[in-house]
């Protein structure tokens, strides 16, 4: 009798543990760009150059990766309550569009067109421009 109780109790604990693991897995958090190190570090010019040379290959390399990018601010705008920083060089058609996290709004106000900036974010790919999301300013 006592043994049977022990077995049931043991099984119950196992089921509970299993459930906790499953719930944690189901609710696993999004990548935190703020604390996670970048997979690649490069300038906006070099990123655009690579995309211009071979879009498919470059997209496989960078999309879904955390990229730290250095470039010249061309435009600062807002979209749905978050700032958008466009990095562009004078002689280039395309740009790198960085959709910032809303927490970065105040910092965005401090930048001017033409200024150099370092931004870290997740690259989602290339349409007319390289798109970066969940971006934060480095430093």
């Amino acid at each position: 009798m006592k043994n049977k109780f022990k077995i049931i109790f043991g099984l119950l604990i196992l089921v509970m543990l299993g459930l906790i693991v499953m719930i944690n897995y189901y609710n696993k958090p999004h990548v935190n760009v703020k604390v996670k190190a970048a997979d690649y570090e490069l300038t906006s010019q070099n990123l655009l150059k690579e995309y211009g040379e071979d879009e498919v290959k470059t997209d496989k390399k960078y999309s879904d990766k955390i990229i730290q990018i250095e470039g010249e601010v061309n435009k600062i705008s807002t979209h749905k309550g978050a700032s958008v920083i466009t990095l562009k060089n004078k002689h280039m058609e395309s740009s790198v569009i960085c959709h910032m996290q809303p927490e970065e709004n105040i910092k965005s106000l401090g930048f001017k067109k033409g200024q150099s900036v370092q931004i870290r974010g997740i690259c989602t790919g290339y349409l007319l421009d390289v798109i970066m999301v969940k971006c934060v300013f480095v430093k």
Binding site: K28, D59, K60
Partner: protein, 177 residues
């Protein structure tokens, strides 16, 4: 008199040539929604590129699958890696036109082809089109069948994902310079 008429006419034509007919957005919004007894899944994309030509009434839309943001990281991961296969098919492309567009009538039918996950299907959608001097807003929704795009859903989660997904869009185009 005739000469003046010709002059005015030719001016109008020149004016037309330089008229602002193309409108563009790089921050269009597209979302999709799946309802099932197990859970509701929603994802938003705020980086949609769309060009509309108000002369030919043609519209071209492009978006990145990885720009769809989900509430749960796990769902986003499954969507990109297993279902949509973003590494193979990173983009979705729609090209179509507004049928019988008339500036007085806001309700317009948009018909075109949607290319997604390597498959192409005709889409019809009723849209609300608002034309302002400096903006063209196109808003609407349509439904797509998951099976139409050869997207395979594993047995285990077959009850978590709807067979038909509702896609909504809101595109605020600005004059294209």
């Amino acid at each position: 008199m005739k000469r003046v008429y010709i002059l005015v006419l030719s001016l109008l034509m020149v004016g037309n040539m330089f008229a602002q007919e193309k409108y563009l957005t790089k921050e269009g919004y597209v979302s999709f929604f799946s309802h099932s007894i197990v859970e509701d899944i929603k994802a938003d994309n705020n980086q949609v590129v769309s060009v509309v030509d108000m002369e030919t009434h043609k519209i071209a839309i492009q978006l990145l699958m990885r720009s769809f943001m989900f509430e749960k990281a796990l769902m986003q991961e499954h969507f990109n890696e297993n279902y949509i296969e973003s590494h193979k098919y990173p983009k979705a492309v729609f090209s179509g036109e507004m049928i019988n567009f008339n500036p007085d009538n806001k309700e317009v039918e948009i018909v075109g082809k949607l290319k997604l996950h390597g498959e192409e299907k005709e889409i019809k959608s009723m849209a609300t089109v608002t034309v302002k001097p400096d903006e063209v807003i196109i808003k609407g929704d349509f439904k797509v069948k998951v099976a139409d795009f050869n997207i395979k859903i594993p047995r285990v989660v077959v009850n978590n994902i709807a067979k038909t997904i509702k896609v909504s869009y809101e595109l605020h185009h600005k004059p294209y310079k």
